[in-house]
Subunit: 363 residues, 4 copies
């Protein structure tokens, strides 16, 4: 085996040479790669990256080769050829101002993500998930998957779950809080699951279309508000207030990515409430907003970016412990071959799937 | 003594009858009343209140009569006729959803403030500071002033200091943080003093005009940025970044009340920084803002409203311990007689004074 | 109706006169009163109180008479004669140093508890739960019980649940923490339930006898350690370490009330872990302890005393939402008539019951 | 230059060969080394370490040689031969359970400290401060000293200041808190300075002998309590209570290292107060202690171990900004030549010096 196929964003140049892993690195044969909403933004050119890129930052595979010195995974478990693994798409340097002094590794100044920040016309080429093989650079945080945790659970949850875990951690849901989740996509569903399992008394989910709200109910939403039925912010704010004794929710988690949702959501908070801006990973442009709301309501507004390796470890335990209660594996609704990556992206872009995945031919 | 004069917002009806304090209440002969920026907003009709009102919520006076049962001040010190006192303009009920369940007394649902929320054509009439006498309702949180704490210190600091103390408490300045203060008015100067005394490594103040920036330097500002010299947000952001190693400040305290300052200030935060929206007590209208900044920079944005009695207690100790280091008494730059209240308001409105005060004839 | 029976600690003097409730007060006809472990301590004279006392601080009853001005319960719901209610046994003053300045109402300087701190030879006499009637003083925080929340749930949970809710709140369990609970009595079982519902990844319970550990399993304990089998601290610490990757638990909740358990439990914490001393409501004497453990392991050790009204509100919601998952009503294992209070206390003292309760004849 | 002298704990074998620094390492010519109280414990054999060891973990020197790849210091400043520098005595691995998952680098499982954890009979030998040269291993966190920060400031503050900064950070002093410091040695004086600069309203220091209390006053202590005058815990607790309105202090910082001080100090806390166990770096044995105090007073008891590089960075800024207010350089009271290391240790052991230092002949 010396060449491998990959779905490359922009035209594919030629079969690329797979090199042996350097010390600290590893080579993985991919079993499944998730299509993330961010991939759609990248595909549409809405985020500034260099091309060509092999997309895909949600990936599960089996160790094909281990570089020298790689003996355990991030949690200290022995790692061997053949092990099924997943990993964080980026690694913090541990030494920069944000890593070392401000303990904010998600804002590491040298952070680059597989499937986003590496051009595949440069060695080691295979640094994205839409491929047969994935090269893992030294310092990649690898996690061995336990046998009772299906690949579909990991990919069904995707980076959305890690993102939600980090966001909810930063927000701080108190036990028995009433929580609103704005958005019923992968991040919203994940935030719902985390909030419910973290002791929220009730979780109200706003979203569309209906299939997503059904999924939200399956994941334990106490109330769902259909954006296709309640079409104005004023109506929706009114319903949330009514459901919360007239005061608003203790915590509102924005998982919509729509700027106007932020303005609407702050009005859904009770005074002294907490508001998480989680869905704005991409720049969706400005909105007309009155900062008086933050003062008057004594809000705390929190941002959260990406996640750390410890969140992925927590996610794995959470998924395994809740296969029934929060069936993330069921979110994998559409499977595509590697060569149908464009169709997979189009399906996700059209909101037709809960989760589309790519499965290489040999996997 | 059965009548008293008062500067009433809207036409003055007639000499009002002072009644004896009911159980739990008190009557105070006013020594000095501060003109707060909020009073200017009220005067201009920019805040929705019922008229007529005796303005003034920053007041020092001497106990004239004590109602039955009032034996000590809020801190437990004995209280007697003749004692010089100040008080919080509003009192929380202690029983509502915000007071009792959410521990947020500043958002008490029945909160009303002296000098703002009481009409003076209804008994007991004298519920504002622009007057010779002030009636203190039962449950008013009264503080006896120590002899070594001048009236000018209390009034010079005014409600701005209490507001800043509460805001900085909610924001959480860490020891050796680099802090930016947007605004050099009373709230900004107060925030500067609190930040410096709370262990900030450096405080950068943005404001205008020059006299205010000189005052900021006198209060320990490490750098001042003159809005009249650096006229664009981009320039000011650039300077703040340069002064902070290229990253931005750990904490930015907005004390300007200008919506665009909020947009500008968030860019002055380092990633993971904390941003306080403190100056937006009034609704100054919307601004075009991109919520992506909160996610991308992992910001925490905090609002703070008014203050609690414990903040006034802390303020009193702080003022007394720092008569030299933070000379708030010197902020009292313009004194007016009660009958010249309009002139006092105009002076404050024109930003001609650091602090204007009213001194009743007999005081 | 003008007299009522009561189980009085110390000899019963004579039928007492029930007076009509003063404004703000209420009279309740008791349906059920729980026997708390603290009652046993009081009964044995291990806590310094004045006698005679009507014991009982876990009580449910129906409103018999409402004093003037009592129109709603603590949450704002309308309150009427005939409503089934419960209440906090003590009320904070809202004005003292701890209530007002330090926001620590559980340490209110004038706090007194029904069933503990009131002598029944003084009017209004009926200030404890082992009786037919209970007088509720003005400022008592009353909660109307929803129809779908059985009396047995409230009494089965008792003050143990409120205590555990407050303790876990102060300790701060993070989502996916590994938790150890020392003790499987009412407080330990409650702490287990709260920890599980608050997102703990796993909860390990140490206790005895076997029946209590079975109950712990029914309430979701992931592991139980039987003190009758593992008889030395060293063995138990070893097992906990083995169950936690060799590091110890993130959080250890002491619900045993035995001083040596505190020394043992700190060794069960991982470095940087959190340790709650919750079971030491009574003074059980000193123990030989090495403070070096706190420094070396960078522990945070937290104490928690009693609870606030908001915890009782949370408990009610929690109980109603989890009738199946956490069946506190099943803990009511032994019912006694009012005149058999001594037998009820003896049963609890002998650890023969999960929860003993008193049911007045007419209820 | 190929040999160098060093004060070796246990018999000195022979002149050792200095090797050139490997990539990432550096060689430093020592200017000054502090004698820390921990060194006395090590010298007396009270801590379990392997011998022979070159003691000394508080060191300033000049870069003699830089290994390949060392271009900047920890803060990103260019580093060159001849630069005056200091460094953290140990470095966290960044990858273990405590470093990566629990963000607790001070408990890194592979942590070893210069001057404590390295035997000098093994290459590279020179890993302690009581020497002419110090070898800095790769990953050592080096800090270039600004010209206006004297070597005496750094050594006078020593690791005590870093320890205090970390401890106070973990404890969380709130602005205007009343603070008690138990102990007036280097850690106590440092804690005093940090507490004062962090906004403490008043700091009360307990200690002995008189010279140390004079130093405490020079560093801003508001009250000092002389252990030689008030000889019983009861007396001292009484005075602290009297100085704190009868309630006790908001925060008590234990910097004494005496187990009985912990029992005494918890009684000096107000209810709901915070208690830092900072002085128990060494195991000084057990004490009879009643855990009921933690529950009854709702205390939070915090441990803190060593410090992180960011604390040293903060210390440097703090020292430079406060050369007058907190004159740590003046603590350097006794200077010794390298060959008089035993005398230096004896002087420190006898509490005769504020701070003893070693100055190599050539420095």
């Amino acid at each position: 085996m010396s060449t491998a196929s990959a779905s490359v964003l922009e035209q594919f140049k030629a079969p690329l040479q797979l090199r042996r892993p350097e010390p600290g690195g590893a080579l993985v044969r991919i079993e499944m790669a998730g299509i993330c909403g961010t991939d759609v933004h990248l595909w549409k050119g809405e985020l500034p990256i260099g091309l060509p890129v092999i997309l895909g930052h949600e990936t599960v595979g089996r160790i094909e080769q281990l570089g020298e010195g790689v003996e355990t995974d991030w949690t200290g478990q022995p790692l061997q050829v053949g092990d099924r693994v997943t990993w964080n798409p980026s690694a913090a340097c541990g030494a920069c101002y944000y890593c070392a002094e401000k303990r904010l590794p998600t804002r590491c100044t040298s952070r680059r993500a597989y499937g986003i920040g590496y051009k595949c016309d440069q060695a080691p080429h295979f640094l994205g998930g839409y491929a047969e093989f994935h090269y893992l650079r030294p310092r990649t945080t690898i996690f061995k998957l336990p046998d009772d945790l299906p690949t579909e659970s990991i990919i069904g949850a995707g980076c959305a779950l890690n993102t939600a875990i980090h966001g909810v951690e930063r927000t701080g849901i108190s036990w028995r809080d009433v929580v609103v989740v704005q958005g019923a996509g992968p991040v919203g569903i994940s935030a719902l699951a985390v909030a419910k399992s973290a002791g929220a008394a009730r979780v109200i989910v706003l979203g569309a279309p209906k299939a997503r709200l059904e999924l939200a109910k399956r994941f334990g939403a106490d109330h769902v508000i259909d954006l296709d039925e309640l079409r104005t912010p004023a109506e929706r704010i009114e319903v949330v207030r009514r459901l919360t004794g007239g005061y608003g929710a203790d915590v509102v988690l924005e998982c919509a990515g729509v700027p106007s949702a932020v303005v609407e959501g702050m009005e859904m908070c009770r005074d002294g409430g907490r508001y998480l801006v989680l869905g704005h990973y991409c720049d969706a442009g400005p909105v007309s907003w009155n900062p008086h709301v933050v003062t008057r309501k004594q809000l705390t507004v929190i941002g959260s970016w990406s996640s750390e390796p410890r969140h992925l470890k927590a996610a794995m335990g959470f998924l395994r412990d809740n296969l029934e209660r929060f069936p993330f594996a069921q979110m994998v609704s559409h499977r595509f071959r590697l060569e149908d990556a464009n169709e997979a992206l189009a399906t996700t872009a059209a909101w037709k799937s809960a989760k589309s995945v790519l499965v290489p031919a040999g996997a």
